[in-house]
């Protein structure tokens, strides 16, 4: 138990750094870093949502980026028609991603294992092709968003720092929500079904209903990340939903440390930083990223969080 103290300390330090970042970026006159870290925070939300089903429920969804797209297109399409108020855009995005996640979950959760991976991948691609075929909203080229969501009051999202703090606040809020969730009875059932499904069934838990709820919840959270991504980039594109994006989200979760809530956040930061560093070195950075991924899978399964701060007791799986 002696190492436990180091963990919260490092986390508080990280949080302090994040809180000071817009000031630092302005001080160093490097607005690029503000955008980069906002992007990292947005993907941290997406990775966190995936971890909820992947890390705690062993549901390997390979179509998770679809909800990023749904959130982004909800903002984009409404803005295209002149509706920029956040109190309309955001609920539409949340309800939309929740509804789609529920439908996909209803079909996909009839299967498990490798079938589940292939089906979620196929549904993700279906939505990708749907976005590509939306010619009225840019089709393949994507949809430019001229005005960011209007929240009203002092919250003007066209100011990069305001958007940054909003994203950070949402990430922290969702992190706390997830902490409560996985520790609650709901989380216990999901985790129990992961380690021994048959026993949980025998105990009388309606496993599929619990899993579907988790699946829909994760999709909804990722939809929120999509809303934020659209506001950050001023753009909604089919590329947000491409299956390689879903693959990257899985990589973030594994890289950071599956089944811990801080892990996927670290993973999102690490993967995007790695991509940024490699792409500044060479145009062909993916030729290095691929083998790095393979090496991580083969030799470093516990992830960054597991290496930095080994769990005080054996993981309960």
């Amino acid at each position: 138990m002696s190492r436990v103290g180091a963990r919260p300390l490092a986390l508080w330090f990280g949080l302090a750094l994040l809180l000071a970042l817009p000031g630092l970026a302005a001080l160093l006159d490097q607005p690029f870093y503000l955008t980069l870290v906002t992007r990292m925070l947005v993907f941290a939300i997406a990775a966190l949502s995936l971890d909820l089903i992947l890390g705690y429920g062993a549901m390997v969804s390979f179509g998770h980026a679809a909800y990023l797209g749904i959130g982004a297109y909800a903002v984009g399409i409404l803005a295209f028609h002149g509706v920029t108020a956040a109190w309309i855009q955001w609920p539409v995005a949340i309800v939309g991603s929740a509804a789609v996640a529920t439908l996909i979950g209803l079909v996909s959760l009839r299967t498990s294992g490798v079938y589940f991976i292939m089906i979620t991948l196929a549904f993700g691609q279906m939505l990708y092709f749907l976005a590509v075929s939306l010619k009225a909203y840019g089709g393949d080229d994507g949809l430019t968003i001229n005005v960011r969501s209007r929240l009203g009051g002092p919250l003007d999202l066209s100011n990069g720092s305001v958007l940054y703090y909003l994203v950070l606040a949402l990430l922290l809020g969702l992190l706390l929500l997830c902490r409560r969730l996985v520790a609650a009875r709901f989380g216990m059932v999901i985790r129990g079904a992961k380690s021994n499904e048959r026993r949980m069934r025998a105990l009388g838990f309606p496993i599929v209903r619990y899993r579907l709820t988790a699946f829909a919840l994760a999709g909804t959270m990722c939809g929120i990340a999509g809303v934020l991504l659209a506001n950050l980039t001023n753009f909604a594109s089919p590329a947000y939903m491409h299956w390689t994006r879903s693959g990257e989200l899985i990589v973030m979760v594994i890289l950071g440390g599956m089944g811990s809530l801080i892990g996927p956040i670290l993973g999102a930061f690490a993967l995007l930083a790695l991509e940024e560093a490699l792409s500044s070195l060479t145009q062909h950075w993916q030729v290095y990223l691929g083998p790095i991924l393979i090496l991580i899978v083969l030799f470093a399964r516990s992830g960054i969080y597991g290496v930095l701060a080994p769990a005080p007791k054996a993981s309960d799986g």
Binding site: T111, Y115, G247, G290, I294
Partner: protein, 308 residues
């Protein structure tokens, strides 16, 4: 309302797509059935097959010669990948396999850009296949696409004979039913795995090189067909070659016919502006709807492997 000539033409196009999907699905489903490995990089091997054929054609000037060289070259690459990376993954969980083979895709997609440049390559049709054939009932069809159908059917027959009638096929079937027992009986399981993976790779390479002249040979060309192949396997049932064949033809025909005729049918039923907006979207989603329906009623697929 629909021209029967056009209908037959599109049906043959659907069959041709189905044949390609079968070549991909057969390899993927064998590898999954026997080694319990989900290989996302199967589409990359298809892409490499297409690139190698294009390169060999550039050197030799002959499509046939290029095809004859590209299949063993792709097979060789597949065997190297199996020995270097995949062998370590057989005992791992599916999530690890997905991630590592995802890494392979990133690598291959970028590697072909480095070797052959970012632009799509052009593969010329061999002269004797650039014309058209006249089929019974007066149907005119491009010879090359007809040749793809013929080659695919021949490969399907070959696979059937290989698996149902030979000793190697017996081992493959036994491996799919009970791997541990096959190993315990003294069969060199490692060699069997490499051979099966090589076979799957050669089939993917064959599909890729045949696709070269009708699609553009470019980085990332393997992924769309990989996703379709997953749909085929889910519908056909994992580990079943027969299921892969029937589901591949089914998906090929439904997808092609849907894209060709669904927008037109919608235009007849609704006003044109709605039909033009909804038609292509609906057509591109059609096979996924079929997949969802199949899963809703038969989660194990339409033609699951016997005894598995």
């Amino acid at each position: 309302m629909i021209d029967p000539q056009l209908l037959a033409f599109q049906a043959l196009n659907g069959l041709q797509l189905g044949i390609m999907l079968f070549l991909m699905a057969a390899g993927l489903t064998l590898v999954f059935g026997i080694m319990n490995l989900i290989n996302l990089a199967h589409g990359s091997l298809y892409m490499v097959g297409a690139y190698l054929a294009a390169a060999f054609q550039g050197w030799t000037g002959s499509f046939l010669l290029a095809a004859l060289l590209a299949v063993p070259a792709t097979l060789l690459l597949g065997v190297v990948v199996e020995i270097v990376v995949l062998r370590a993954l057989y005992e791992r969980e599916h999530l690890d396999q997905v991630l590592a083979t995802f890494g392979l895709i990133l690598f291959f997609n970028e590697a072909v850009r480095i070797v052959w440049g970012p632009n799509a390559l052009f593969v010329a049709l061999p002269e004797f296949l650039s014309g058209q054939v006249e089929l019974p009932l007066g149907i005119i069809y491009p010879s090359y696409r007809f040749a793809i159908i013929a080659v695919g059917l021949a490969v399907a027959l070959f696979l059937y004979l290989l698996i149902a009638r030979t000793r190697v096929g017996m081992l493959i079937r036994a491996g799919a039913t009970n791997r541990a027992m096959v190993g315990a009986l003294g069969v060199d399981v490692k060699l069997l795995y490499t051979a099966v993976f090589g076979l799957g790779t050669a089939l993917a390479g064959l599909a890729g090189l045949m696709a070269g002249p009708i699609l553009s040979v470019e980085s990332g060309m393997g992924e769309p067909i990989l996703i379709l192949t997953f749909v085929v396997i889910v519908i056909g049932g994992i580990g079943s070659i027969r299921g892969a064949f029937l589901a591949a033809v089914l998906i090929g025909v439904i997808d092609t016919m849907g894209r060709a005729f669904l927008p037109g049918l919608l235009r007849a039923a609704f006003n044109p502006s709605i039909a033009n907006a909804v038609g292509p979207a609906l057509a591109s989603m059609l096979i996924y709807v079929v997949m969802a329906l199949v899963l809703a009623f038969r989660p194990q697929g339409l033609f699951p492997a016997r005894g598995a």
